[in-house]
């Protein structure tokens, strides 16, 4: 066995391969993306891996494979499960034959998500079991147990790590990987067709299973009770790691209940934990799932223990937990005074804010600038979507007025237009998002003849999550080349009458194209086509010459991170410039040009 440093997502992927997974599907989403990528990278050749067009599709493809007896894994982030919730809810009734694991990564903070929703609720809502790892090495074990449990109870099983598990590395002993599971094949049976009468019968069975699974969980090594005393701490996920580290540094009698499977709640073990306790502190990120289960258990047993957590305002609902927050909660709970002896730190001088920005040379900057220029004197609202281009809301571009969820740019624009028909409504959407959920909204605009302009920012990749292929790229995760799905062809087939395609780095032409599209009555579309700079080579870098009048238009209007004013002159950082030439095209003095002139 070799010791290896592995990221949580890599550990999960290798655990799935070890468990003999046959089919892996998913849609990219931080912090879940590397799971599927790692399976593809370590594919012994007999695992089918695909990036699906969206999470609902991915869930259904994985479900179909599991119907036939394959072990299937589907990966997504927490909001992806919203998209896939329709098949998930019904799969809980229909069940599976081969093991099916739904890897759904939550993002407390949130660090790169729209919501801080807690997927453990989806487990409870759908009556499906969920594993919640506290370290990468535990996640490696858990995914193997999840496949086994899934086959034992014939239900999909959720594995729900959080960002700090997904994106942390740990030292793992890697055993032999083993082979694939033998696939029995699909057997025709009425059990696979969801009808009301079947749903009724299945609902009864599903409810009966819940207690049984809770008992199975009580016996699993992921749930443990250690320590002694009249005070107890229940903790899960990364909060459990923080709690362990805090408790190892203080001397106190306290019982610790580590919860690795929050639903169905391991009540039998929880009861053992609660015995003899006067007070309980619950440490879990996001929602009070364990806290509420303990409250319920305590009420059922007429218990007297006081339970502290989010419901009692001892801990926050929002934001991710830290070692410091957990330490403060535990020391207060145990009555340890830590105020004394704490060294104070000198505060630093004012430091510049550093929000993430569009990269130097990013084609989205040029696209936003062209649309902004074209609509300068008009009343216009710019709806955005999910992707790197959400960053277009920042100064100085300020071209994203709304952002809600995947695919909503096109549809929110339609609602805004119905309420305010005298304004122009421009919807921005990226190429991958267009395929994900953009198309139904597009058809809706055409069907209802809503006068909006759809701007597709086609950079030829799923950039924000790390450059995954999508249907428009013609590449698959099996290393095959497939038919490229043409965005212009889709727009045309859906009935958009005015469609233009332009390279956003041709600023003059881009402005004209946008003006024409916006003046077209009825739905129109512009495709800005230029590759993401992270997957292309830089062109001739730009330099500022003597003609510069220090008007600072380049800094004021485009917000390129390569351009700055050093107090005397404008500088373009050579290590950042990609030579996109947008700055030289807008410079009124003609002072900027290629370094080769």
């Amino acid at each position: 066995m070799a010791k290896k440093l592995l990221m949580g997502n890599e550990a999960i992927a290798l655990g799935a391969i070890k468990a003999g997974v046959n089919v892996v599907t998913g849609y990219p989403g931080t912090p879940s993306t590397e799971v599927l990528e790692t399976v593809a990278r370590h594919n012994p050749g007999d695992i089918y891996v695909e990036w699906s067009v969206n999470e609902k599709v991915a869930m259904e493809v994985a479900g179909g494979a599991a119907y036939a007896g394959a072990r299937a894994l589907v990966t997504m982030k927490q909001m992806g499960l919203n998209v896939a919730s329709d098949p998930l809810m019904s799969l809980a009734y229909i069940g599976v034959k081969g093991g099916m694991v739904v890897l759904v990564a939550d993002d407390p903070g949130p660090i790169s998500s729209q919501t801080e929703q807690d997927s453990r609720h989806f487990a409870r809502f759908s009556n499906l079991p969920v594993f919640d790892p506290s370290t990468p090495e535990e996640a490696f074990e858990m995914i193997q147990s999840a496949f086994e449990l899934s086959e034992q109870v014939q239900l999909p099983v959720l594995l729900r790590p959080t960002t700090r598990i997904c994106h942390s590395c740990s030292t793992l002993d890697l055993p032999e990987m083993g082979g694939r599971k033998n696939i029995e094949g699909f057997e025709k049976d009425p059990r696979w067709v969801i009808f009301p009468s079947l749903s009724y019968r299945k609902h009864i069975q599903l409810e009966e299973l819940q207690e049984k699974i809770g008992d199975i969980f009580s016996e699993m090594p992921y749930n443990t009770v250690t320590g002694k005393g009249s005070k107890g701490i229940a903790a899960s996920g990364v909060a459990c790691s923080y709690a362990g580290e805090v408790l190892s540094s203080i001397n106190a009698d306290v019982k610790l209940f580590k919860v690795g499977t929050p639903y169905p709640f391991p009540s039998r073990l929880a009861q053992e934990f609660m015995e003899g306790l006067d007070e309980v502190l619950v440490l879990e990120e996001l929602d009070p799932v364990i806290e509420e289960s303990l409250l319920e258990l305590s009420a059922k047993n007429c218990g007297r223990a006081r339970i502290y957590g989010k419901r009692t305002k001892h801990l926050p609902y929002a934001g991710e937990y830290s070692y410091e927050l957990v330490r403060s909660a535990i020391t207060k709970f145990l009555g340890i005074d830590e105020a004394a002896g704490r060294a104070s730190i000198n505060l630093p001088p004012p430091l510049p804010a550093r929000p993430p920005v569009l990269c130097a040379g990013c084609p989205h900057r040029a696209s936003f600038y062209a649309v902004k220029t074209a609509l300068r004197k008009q009343k216009a609202v710019f709806t955005g979507d999910i992707g790197c281009y959400t960053l277009g809301n920042a100064k100085p571009l300020e071209m994203v007025d709304t952002c809600l969820c995947m695919g909503a740019g096109i549809t929110i624009a339609q609602g805004l237009h119905r309420a305010e028909p005298d304004a122009r409504h421009i919807a921005f959407i990226g190429d991958s998002t267009f395929f994900h959920t953009g198309i139904p909204g597009l058809i809706n605009a055409v069907y209802n003849n809503t006068d909006i302009t759809i701007v597709v920012l086609d950079n030829g990749t799923t950039a924000m999550t790390g450059h995954q292929p999508h249907p428009g790229t013609g590449k698959t995760m099996m290393g095959n080349i497939s038919e490229k799905i043409d965005i212009k062809g889709i727009l045309s087939a859906c009935g958009v009458k005015h469609i233009a395609k332009v390279n956003p780095f041709d600023l003059k032409k881009s402005v004209e194209v946008v003006k024409e599209a916006v003046s077209h009555k009825g739905p129109s579309a512009v495709i800005f086509e230029a590759p993401c700079i992270a997957v292309t080579k830089p062109s001739i870098r730009q330099v500022v010459g003597d003609k510069c009048t220090l008007c600072k238009k380049c800094i004021r209007e485009i917000g390129c991170p390569a351009i700055s004013f050093n107090g005397e002159k404008i500088e373009i950082e050579p290590s950042l410039c990609y030579g996109c030439t947008l700055c030289s095209q807008i410079c009124p003095a003609g002072a900027i040009g290629g370094a080769d002139r």
């Binding site: 010791k3 290896k4 440093l5 931080t30 912090p31 993306t33 660090i111 790169s112 700090r164 994106h167 942390s168 590395c169 740990s170 030292t171 990364v238 790691s241 923080y242 362990g244 580290e245 190892s248 830290s322 070692y323 410091e324 330490r327 060294a343 730190i345 000198n346 630093p348 001088p349 004012p350 430091l351 510049p352 804010a353 550093r354 929000p355 993430p356 920005v357 569009l358 990269c359 790197c388 960053l391 920042a394 100064k395 100085p396 950039a463 924000m464 999550t465 790390g466 800094i555 004021r556 917000g559 390129c560 991170p561 351009i563 700055s564 004013f565 290590s575």
Partner: protein, 200 residues
Amino acid sequence: MKCDILIAGVGGQGTVLASRLLAASAVEAGYFARTSETIGMAQRGGCVVSHVRIGSQKASSIIPSGMADLLIGFELSEAARNMYRLSPGGKCVINTRAIKPVTASLDSKSYDADRVYEYIKANAPRSIFVDGYALAQKAGSVKALNVVLIGVAAAAGFIPIGRDELEKAIVCNVSPKYVDLNIKAFNIGLEYVAAAGENN
């Protein structure tokens, strides 16, 4: 043996590879290592922090405030932003080049690099300041900044891992076509400290 190393910088500077190299070399040397990194949502240009914890089997992957034994600052203000995580007596290796964010250019708020430098010096007396970009450029690319700074920290005795393990980690974790460049950058980092020692 326990050692907590914090890496702070700007997205795109190569901090993730730096923490992976340190942790992989620690595993190579027989220790248990954990890391935690900022990944995702167009991190380019934003603040990023990586944690490396050596000898951390029973710890979490995040270094508690005031516990870092070493802070490797890839950018001046990002180092200052994370000084509160450094332990009393902790050491620093700091790249002196300031990166001015777009926001600072827009509202013409100054980024007083000299003041930031003085702050770090006053609060972490055991600091090495180095023009990392100049050294990386000497090796052939500014992208090798991460390996230069690791070389400086290793030569200064701030990292409890031998040069051989660090070199092996570079060879195993860097794309084959950039291995030579990175080994060169690592050695330039090592030599920088030796030369500075002779000058004193």
